[in-house]
Point group: C2
Chain length 339, copies 2
Amino acid sequence: MKETTLKQIATELGISITTVSKALKNYPDVSESTKKAVKDLAIALHYTPNSFAVNLRTKESKTIGLILPTVLHDFFSNVIDGILEEAEKRNYLVIILQSNEKYELEKKQIDLLLSKRVDGILLSLSNETGEFHHLKPIFEHNTPLVLFDKIAKIVNCSKVSINDKKAAYDAVTYLIKKGYKKIAHFRGSYMPQNSIDRFLGYKKALEDHDISYDSSLVFVCDNNTDFEDGYENARKAMAVQPEIDAVFAVTDLVAIGAIKYFNEMGIKIPQQIAIFGFSNWFMSSLITPKLSTVDQPGFEIGRTAAAILFDEIYSKKNNLPIVFQSIELETSIIERQST
Amino acid sequence: MKETTLKQIATELGISITTVSKALKNYPDVSESTKKAVKDLAIALHYTPNSFAVNLRTKESKTIGLILPTVLHDFFSNVIDGILEEAEKRNYLVIILQSNEKYELEKKQIDLLLSKRVDGILLSLSNETGEFHHLKPIFEHNTPLVLFDKIAKIVNCSKVSINDKKAAYDAVTYLIKKGYKKIAHFRGSYMPQNSIDRFLGYKKALEDHDISYDSSLVFVCDNNTDFEDGYENARKAMAVQPEIDAVFAVTDLVAIGAIKYFNEMGIKIPQQIAIFGFSNWFMSSLITPKLSTVDQPGFEIGRTAAAILFDEIYSKKNNLPIVFQSIELETSIIERQST
DNA sequence: TTGTATGCGTTATCAA
DNA sequence: TTGATAACGCATACAA
């Protein structure tokens, strides 16, 4: 199909392109009669503006880029959902890219988005990312950037996340109040700040409740922070410290791995050992026993990050000052059968 | 940052824009010396072509659109992963949109993508979509389209899916061979073809093995084809037909709901009743007992659909003939503990 | 109220 | 081997 252009409408109506353009955008300085004529014909010819030309003229694409470690992840799916909802509301499109938890790939995806001239970028840092040179081009391009979930405090931009330390603190405090005394922690690897903060929250909760921290109760998930880690660490923990009466896991998946192990061993949950997860993955309410966990509001994180980004895009466009925000969304304790 | 343009390089070097453009693209009719000078300066100035201008000139955006019912879905996450991998390989970007299983929204998203002039569209139809007027604009724009998973045979374009009927047939045959005699089916709603085909496969398998079809063993999932449906139907089934010794569920989630019910009732799986799912969701191997299911290769479906789309985009661009393909990827039976 | 002229940054044709 | 010129389709400052 030949695409209709302003020019065609103009010649057909015997008026200028300018007038057509203005008429379609309801400029006040076009007579009602020509407006009507133009609009009617535009509809009849199924006119839609050529967005390539509009982009070139306006220097914006009404498109943002989203980079996240992986799309195969319950939490990130919720984030995406939130972002898409907000983008739809604001009439933006979203290009999604994965970093596979690799610094180099993250860098490549950033450059790609920049070369496509997206209006803004939403980024959740990869586990490998410990240094931020690769963000420099974003700032040089003056492209709005919002970090979410896996953020870095040093980076000078808006951020949306949860307070991992507090959430972990609350979870462990909950366990203590429930009467558990020997609480193990299956922690994440040493890289992403989230793991560290959750560990710190665990430690602080113990100390604040007069339980001395015992490093032999901490087990690291060094594979992928996933199911196998939980299973394996549960086995190790039982071998070394059979008196453990509760486990606070860095992630639901780790917790589920642990549950699997205890189920297989005939160790009763929560009678003999309690399990507490983190994130509130969908499946956590479907397993047996249902997992108590920290609710991490993925949808809301995505929605908020996107909203902030769109605001910054708007401000930039209108030369308004931009004040970076650092938002920490509330988490909550979800009590189910495993504690 | 001021973006570098061809013009700047040209003036800086005292040559024409044309020559700069050609030099950068390694045209044979530019001298090596100027080529080198141009390229060096381009690198020094961090030149990247303005993709808005390129789009306008070349009439392509190197971007495709993806519309799927929802992103909150294990299977679709895998599809997305496959699509992104293929897109990356071919240097395309992917814009993702959701239809929320609504016809009207699907229509709106299509028009949106078209107005953005994506080079091609990947679409998995919503459950509500029973009529295909809304695809007309795609064909009018002459935009390549590939349907995947939720396809419609009538639509004249390439398609990638599995053979739902055969997969269901294989699953039920497996159950029969295992010795199960009274096999119930928790079927999906009447709308998407997938549900229908899985039901037909169930029926045919029974008939081919001399088990007469009994409609009172079929229970419809009319909520959302999800967890609750499985739980509810398991309850109903036990109330009405306690001699059922196996359940073939339209979906893993439905199967997991059923498992939940039987677990709660103390009904032993698979000794008293076997459960068979469909899709091989990630969580299916984590629940207790692990679920036997049909593996539906989401990643591969996504990858293949994308590959076909890119081939069609290429063919269209080069005025080569396009032959629509209908590909059915292999499924396989995954035997675990629930059968 | 309408139209002219210009430019956004590239690519492509054709002449020099 | 190089460059002048036009064109892609639209938006806007300015003139009429």
